[in-house]
C-alpha cells in the first residue's frame, strides 16, 4: 500500500506533467494550444476517462473489470435497437444505461459469490457481452424487427445503426460555452465518484475490502452488496461512455470502444491506483486520463502515426509502475537506514549500550 503522503504528491506530479505536456506540445505546434481546441479534443477520449473512473473504484477493492469496453458496445447497440423498435431516443438512452448497469451487476454477483479471480470472470463476461452485442441485431432481425435500421443489413455492417435523431447526436458535439458535453459528463461523474469514494462510508468500505476482505467481513462490512454495487457503478460509467460515443459517431455500433482497454487500464494505473487494491484516488485517475488523452492528441497532431501511440502508452504504463515501485523501495531502505542511525546516535548520547 502506498503511503498517503506519496499519493498526494503523485497527483501533484500528474498535474505538473499535464501542464508541462500541454506547454511542450503547444510550443511545437501553437495551434494546439488554443483553449477551444484543447477542450474540444477531450471529446475524443472522454470515453476512456469515463471507463477509467469507474474502474478505479473496482480496482481499489482489489478487483478488476475488463468487460467495460464490451459494455460500451452493448449499451450502444441497445440504444440503437431500442430506438429502432420505436422508443423515444431519450428513453432508449435510459434503457441503454440500465442494461449496462445490469451487466455490471452480473459481474458483481459473480465476483461476490465465488472466489474465482475477477480477471477470469470479467474475461468471460467480456466475451459474452461482446458476443451478445454483436448478435443481438441478428436475433431481432430474425424475429422480424427491422433491427438494422434505415439502411438495412448492408449499411449496418459498415455504419451501425444510423439515422439517430439530431437532438441526440448533437449532444456529444454540443456544450456549455466552450466546454463540450462529454467533458462535462466526465467532470460530473468524477465529482460524484470522488464524493462517494472519499466522503461516504461506501467509499471507505471499498478500501477496507481491498486491504482485507475477510477482516472487512468480520467487521460487519456488507462485502457482497458493496462488491455488486461497485461493479454496477463501474459498468454504469462504461454505459455512459457508450452512449456518448454513439452520439459522437452518430451511429450505434457493437464494437464502439473496443480499442480502449489498454488506455483505460493505463489511466487507472498511471493515476496512482495500486493494481493490488487498497489505495487510489479519483483525482489521480482523472488527471492521468487527461495526461494520456492529450498526449495522444498531441502526438497525432505532430504527425506521429496512430500505430506508434500504443507503443508509447505501453511504455508509459510499464515505466511509471517500475519507477514508482523503485522509488518506494528506495525510500524504505533510506528510511530504515535513517531510523537505525537515529537509534544509534540516541543510545550513544544516552551514554550506554542498548538496554
Amino acid at each position: 500500500m502506498i503511503q498517503w503522503k506519496w499519493l498526494r504528491s503523485w497527483e501533484a506530479v500528474l498535474a505538473a506533467a499535464l501542464v508541462v505536456e500541454l506547454l511542450v506540445l503547444g510550443a511545437i505546434n501553437p495551434a494546439f494550444l488554443s483553449v477551444e481546441n484543447l477542450l474540444f479534443s477531450t471529446s475524443d477520449f472522454a470515453h476512456v476517462i469515463l471507463g477509467a473512473l469507474g474502474l478505479t473504484l473496482v480496482v481499489i477493492t482489489a478487483g478488476i473489470d475488463i468487460s467495460g469496453v464490451s459494455i460500451m458496445g452493448l449499451a450502444s447497440i441497445v440504444l440503437g435497437l431500442s430506438w429502432v423498435a420505436g422508443a423515444d431516443i431519450w428513453v432508449a438512452v435510459l434503457i441503454a444505461l440500465a442494461v449496462g448497469s445490469l451487466a455490471g451487476a452480473f459481474n458483481g454477483l459473480l465476483v461476490a459469490n465465488t472466489d474465482v479471480n475477477p480477471l477470469v470472470l470479467t474475461l468471460g463476461s467480456m466475451f459474452m457481452f461482446a458476443g451478445i452485442a454483436t448478435g443481438l441485431p441478428g436475433v431481432l432481425d430474425l424475429l422480424g424487427f427491422k433491427a438494422y435500421g434505415a439502411g438495412g443489413f448492408a449499411a449496418y455492417q459498415y455504419e451501425g445503426i444510423t439515422g439517430l435523431p439530431k437532438s441526440f447526436t448533437a449532444l456529444a458535439h454540443g456544450g456549455v460555452g466552450w466546454v463540450p458535453n462529454p467533458l462535462i459528463a466526465v467532470l460530473l461523474f468524477a465529482l460524484v465518484l470522488s464524493l462517494i469514494l472519499h466522503r461516504t462510508r461506501f467509499g471507505r468500505y471499498l478500501y477496507l475490502i481491498g486491504v482485507n476482505p475477510n477482516v472487512a467481513r468480520y467487521s460487519g462490512v456488507p462485502v457482497k452488496s458493496v462488491l455488486v454495487a461497485v461493479y454496477t457503478l463501474s459498468a454504469f460509467g462504461a454505459a455512459m461512455a457508450g452512449v456518448i460515443l454513439t452520439s459522437y459517431f452518430t451511429s450505434a455500433r457493437s464494437d464502439l470502444g473496443s480499442e480502449a482497454l489498454l488506455n483505460i487500464i493505463t489511466a487507472v494505473v498511471l493515476g496512482g491506483t495500486d493494481i493490488l487494491g487498497g489505495s487510489g484516488t479519483v483525482l489521480g485517475t482523472l488527471l492521468a486520463g487527461l495526461v494520456l488523452g492529450f498526449l495522444r492528441q498531441g502526438l497525432l497532431a505532430l504527425g506521429v502515426s496512430n500505430d506508434v501511440i500504443p507503443v508509447i502508452v505501453g511504455g508509459l504504463l510499464v515505466g511509471t509502475v517500475a519507477m514508482k515501485l523503485g522509488l518506494i523501495a528506495f525510500n524504505q531502505r533510506r528510511g530504515n537506514r535513517r531510523a537505525y542511525q537515529l537509534e544509534i546516535s540516541e543510545t550513544r548520547e544516552g551514554g550506554g549500550s542498548p538496554a
Binding site: Y205, L208, V211, V215, S219, Y340, T347, P354
Partner: protein, 511 residues
C-alpha cells in the same frame, strides 16, 4: 524479585574454538521501526540453545536473518568465525543453516513426497529411503502421494522438520515447532534433537513453552524489545527467572489477574441465548450469558470453540439451532446483523480476521461504526473523536494518526481490534483468546477492560486455552469437549477439576 542478568558471552576466552554461528551487533530496521537493536549471541556446536521472548521482541526477525531470509541493517553474521553474507535462504542452506518455520510452507497442490523432496540438491531418489525412515520415526503416516493440502497442520509441520533433517544442516533452527504436536510427537522430536546435537549439530529452538525450554535446552537467551536481556545455561535458571526476564521493565509483577466481581443482581433476560446449536464441529450446544457476567469457555485447541463462536456470529451459515441476542431472536445471522443486534466478536486470529494491517490503525477502530459517523458523508471530526476516545480508554500506543497497523506491536494491534468491537457499543462481546501473543502489560489492560465491561452490564464470553486465566476471570465456566458444551458447577471450579473436564476425563463435568 530475581535480578535480570546482563547479556554475557560465555565463550569469551581466548584459545577456545569459535562458536558454530554467531551474530555480532546486528540491527534490523523495518519501515523505520527498529526491531533488533544491536544483538549479539552465539551458538556452539552440539548445543541446544533456546530463544525466548514475547511478541514483538524480535525472535522471528533474528532467526530470519540467521537463515538468510532477511539481511541485517547493520552487524555481522559469523560461521565458525568467518563473516558471512546471505543474499537468500539458499545461501544459508549451502552453508549448513536451515530453519523449520512456525507455519509450515506447504505446496498444497503437490504431493507429500514432492513437498518433502523439493529443493534438494542432486538426485532426489537418493533421499527417498532416508525420507521414509524419518517419516516413520516422526509419525508421518500418510500416503506419500496424497495432496499436502489435505494434511492436518501437525502433519504439515512434520514435513518441514523432515526437510530440515534431510538437508544435513549443521545449524538447525526450530521456530515454535511443538505448538500443534501431540506428546508422542514432541517426545520423538526431542529425541531427534538430542541425537542431532550429539552429532555436533547446533540447534536453535524458539518456544514460548517454558517447561519445554527447561527440559531440552542447554542454554537460554531471552529477547526483549530487540535486545538480549539474558543468556545463561539452562541448569542455572528457574521458571521465575525466565518469566521475570520477559516481563517489560518497570511493570509490577502480578501473580493473578484481579478477581472477577460477580454482580449480585442479575437481569433475568440473558444477553446471549444459544439453543441447540449444531454445526460441523459441535452438537446441540445450549448456554446463556447474562448481562454483567463473564462466562469462560474452556477447552483445548481443536475442540471447536472458535467454530462455535463464528457460528453464533453468522460467519458459518451451515448451522441449525437458535440464537437470541439481547432478547431478540436472530434466525438469520451475519457479522453485520449481529453487530446491529448488539453482539461483538474479537477474533482469535487478529491478522487474518481482525485488523487491517495495511491501513492506519485508526481505520481498523472505526471500521465497525462507520454508519454512525455521519450520513451521507463521513465526518472526519467525529471519526477522530471516536478513535481518540478508544485510544485513550484502552491505552493504545499510536505514534501518529496515520501509523499503519502493521507497525504496531501485538498488544496494540489486539487493543485496536478490541476498540473496533467496543466502538459498536455491544451488549454482549465474545473474546476469542484475547491475551494470546501479547505482552504482560497489555494482558493486564485486557483484564481490567473485562471488569469495566461487566460493571457496565455488558455480558462477556471469554474463550481461552489457559485454564488459570479462565478460572480467575469467569463467573461461570463452560467446558467444550468433542463438540459438546457443559457447565462446570461452581463447587468444582478448581484448576485440576476443570482440567479434567477439558480433557473429558472422569471427575470432570462434561459427560
Amino acid at each position: 524479585m530475581p535480578e535480570v542478568n546482563q547479556a554475557t558471552d560465555p565463550s569469551a576466552n581466548a584459545g577456545v574454538a569459535p562458536p558454530l554461528v554467531s551474530l555480532k551487533g546486528v540491527w534490523k530496521v523495518f519501515e523505520s521501526v527498529p526491531v533488533l537493536r544491536g544483538i549479539s549471541f552465539d551458538l556452539k556446536a552440539g548445543e541446544i540453545h533456546a530463544l525466548l521472548g514475547g511478541n514483538g521482541s524480535g525472535k522471528s526477525t533474528t532467526v530470519k536473518i540467521l537463515c538468510g531470509a532477511h539481511k541485517p541493517t547493520a552487524g555481522v553474521i559469523e560461521l565458525n568465525g568467518q563473516p558471512q553474507t546471505f543474499d537468500r535462504p539458499s545461501d544459508a542452506h549451502a552453508k549448513g543453516i536451515y530453519m523449520v518455520p512456525q507455519e509450515p510452507h506447504i505446496f498444497a497442490n503437490q504431493t507429500v513426497r514432492e513437498n518433502l523432496l523439493i529443493g534438494l540438491a542432486g538426485d532426489v531418489r537418493a533421499y527417498s529411503e532416508r525420507c521414509e525412515r524419518l517419516a516413520r520415526e516422526l509419525g508421518l503416516t500418510c500416503d506419500f502421494s496424497t495432496c499436502a493440502g489435505e494434511l492436518s497442520i501437525a502433519s504439515q509441520q512434520l514435513i518441514e522438520i523432515i526437510r530440515g533433517l534431510l538437508r544435513n544442516a549443521r545449524v538447525l533452527i526450530f521456530d515454535e515447532p511443538t505448538s500443534a504436536l501431540t506428546i508422542r510427537e514432541v517426545k520423538s522430536l526431542f529425541g531427534q534433537m538430542k541425537k542431532l546435537s550429539a552429532d555436533g549439530i547446533g540447534i536453535f529452538f524458539i518456544s514460548h513453552r517454558l517447561n519445554e525450554v527447561l527440559e531440552i535446552s542447554d542454554r537460554v537467551s531471552v529477547l526483549r524489545d530487540g535486545v538480549f536481556v539474558l543468556t545463561a545455561a539452562t541448569a542455572t535458571l528457574t521458571t521465575n527467572d525466565l518469566v521475570a526476564a520477559m516481563r517489560p521493565a518497570g511493570s509490577a509483577p502480578t501473580n493473578a489477574p484481579e478477581q472477577a466481581q460477580s454482580s449480585a443482581a442479575r437481569s433475568p433476560t440473558p444477553t446471549l441465548e444459544v439453543r441447540n446449536l449444531s454445526g460441523k464441529m459441535f452438537h446441540e450446544v445450549s448456554f446463556n450469558v447474562f448481562p454483567g457476567e463473564v462466562v469462560g469457555l474452556a477447552g483445548l485447541v481443536g475442540a471447536g470453540r472458535t467454530e462455535l463462536a463464528e457460528a453464533i456470529l453468522g460467519i458459518d451459515q451451515h448451522v441449525s439451532g437458535d440464537v437470541a441476542i439481547d432478547g431478540r431472536a436472530a434466525p438469520a445471522r451475519s457479522p453485520r446483523i449481529c453487530q446491529r443486534l448488539g453482539l461483538a466478536y474479537v477474533p482469535e486470529d487478529r491478522h487474518a480476521h481482525g485488523i487491517f494491517l495495511e491501513l492506519p490503525g485508526a481505520q481498523t477502530i472505526s471500521a465497525s461504526i462507520l454508519a454512525r459517523l455521519g450520513r451521507p458523508f463521513l465526518s472526519a471530526k467525529r471519526e477522530a473523536a471516536v478513535v481518540a476516545q478508544f485510544v485513550q480508554r484502552l491505552g493504545i500506543k499510536l505514534s501518529s494518526p496515520t501509523q499503519l497497523a502493521r507497525t504496531l506491536s501485538g498488544g496494540n494491534q489486539q487493543k485496536a481490534v478490541l476498540a473496533k468491537a467496543l466502538a459498536a457499543l455491544p451488549r454482549i462481546i465474545i473474546l476469542d483468546e484475547p491475551t494470546r501473543g501479547i505482552d504482560a502489560q497489555a494482558r493486564q489492560d485486557v483484564y481490567r477492560l473485562i471488569r469495566d465491561l461487566t460493571a457496565q452490564g455488558v455480558g462477556v464470553l471469554v474463550i481461552s486455552s489457559e485454564l488459570a486465566e479462565i478460572i480467575d476471570l469467569s463467573d461461570r465456566i463452560l467446558v467444550m469437549y468433542r463438540g459438546r458444551v457443559a457447565e462446570v458447577p461452581r463447587s468444582q471450579a478448581r484448576i485440576d477439576q476443570v482440567s479434567a473436564a477439558v480433557f473429558g476425563m472422569a471427575g470432570g463435568a462434561a459427560a
